[in-house]
Amino acid sequence: MGRFDAYHSKVLCDHLCEQIHRLAKRPLRLMEVCGGHTMAIRKHGIPSLLPDIISLLSGPGCPVCVTSPSFIDQAIYLAGQSNMIICTYGDLLRVKGSNGSLEMARTEGKNVRVIFSALEALEMARREPEKMIIFLGIGFETTAPATAAVIIQAKKHAIRNFFVLSAHKLMAPAMEAIVSNDIPINGYICPGHVSAITGTSIYKKIVEDFRIGCVVSGFEPLDLLQTIFMLVRQAETDRPALDIQYSRVVKPWGNQKAIALMEEAFETVDDWWRGLGILNASGLKPKASYHEFDAAEVFQIPANNISDPEGCICGEILKGLQLPVDCRLFGKSCTPENPEGACMVSSEGSCQTYYHYEHRR
């Protein structure tokens, strides 16, 4: 994007790196939670530009990586019902449930369609009134408002054949769970696009109660380096703070319209996270006043508890306790072409980004 090219400037990157090297005196573990950051950090080779005493860890912010395998099972079950069409973002297609992925279900002739926007699913419901359209709502606060907007539209236009199966999650409860589990972290590189919606108040507790610095970051190399600089400065002066590096997009109060839509359509529920288990009020489902659009309320869906493939350590990786290369399946039976675990499926997953950008170096 020509207009923001300066955020790739080699001169300014070198300048920032020099400042970081001057400032950093003690070992620091900084965690990025957003999958988009994980990808950008590896793609631009940021770790190799930093002093050895700074380590960057990936957290639980890739939606595909934390989604439960039973959600996939539920989606595949619905895809097998007559007259139902499952609409999903492409990211979810290859995640395995207990009996294969949505992609495999599609190959077997089940009705699974990939869409780019929740609005496409609603359009499909309008166009094909004889079919029941089930939209798989996944993602954090960046994608949840779009799902909320679509549910509200469905109600407004009395579209009766549109449903959402929600696995939407909230970012802050997982970040709090990590620090309250005593996983050693000295600062959070906070997700830029989640924060564009939520604003910064969701990180208050992490800064005030746990005394962990939180800086909301953009996605370009300069953004990430400046964020790391800010976190190093906070740590070196022992002043953890809540800061916005990505000020061209993120306001402290967030996107009020999007927040209002989420509050109108959703309520919080306890939800399961890979690696972290069940966290209080960490998921979103349609409110009672929108139950007629909640696939989990309307349809009888068999529930089953299944676990990750034998040997997969995604859960530990998502907490920053182990690295993809520590997994004995990494690059052997588990590759991007043939992923075993969820962290290898998404282009933003730790294992896949490691595979592409580190493994081959």
Partner: protein
Amino acid sequence: MCLSIPAEVITLKDDTALVSVNGLEVNVSTLLLDNLKTGDYVLIHSGFAIEIIDSEEAEKTLSVIRHMRISK
């Protein structure tokens, strides 16, 4: 999943904006944003404009980086 791309608003109609992403024109929903104007730069996420990109702030950030100096 959380990747968003910058785009320039070309025209606005009802709840939809025609935007240009590096010269490629697409329609996106404006249900999540009020007060959009043509010429605004916005971030697009799964078919929705989710926030306006503030060019002044973009410049300010760069200028902070340019003027940063740490003495050893």
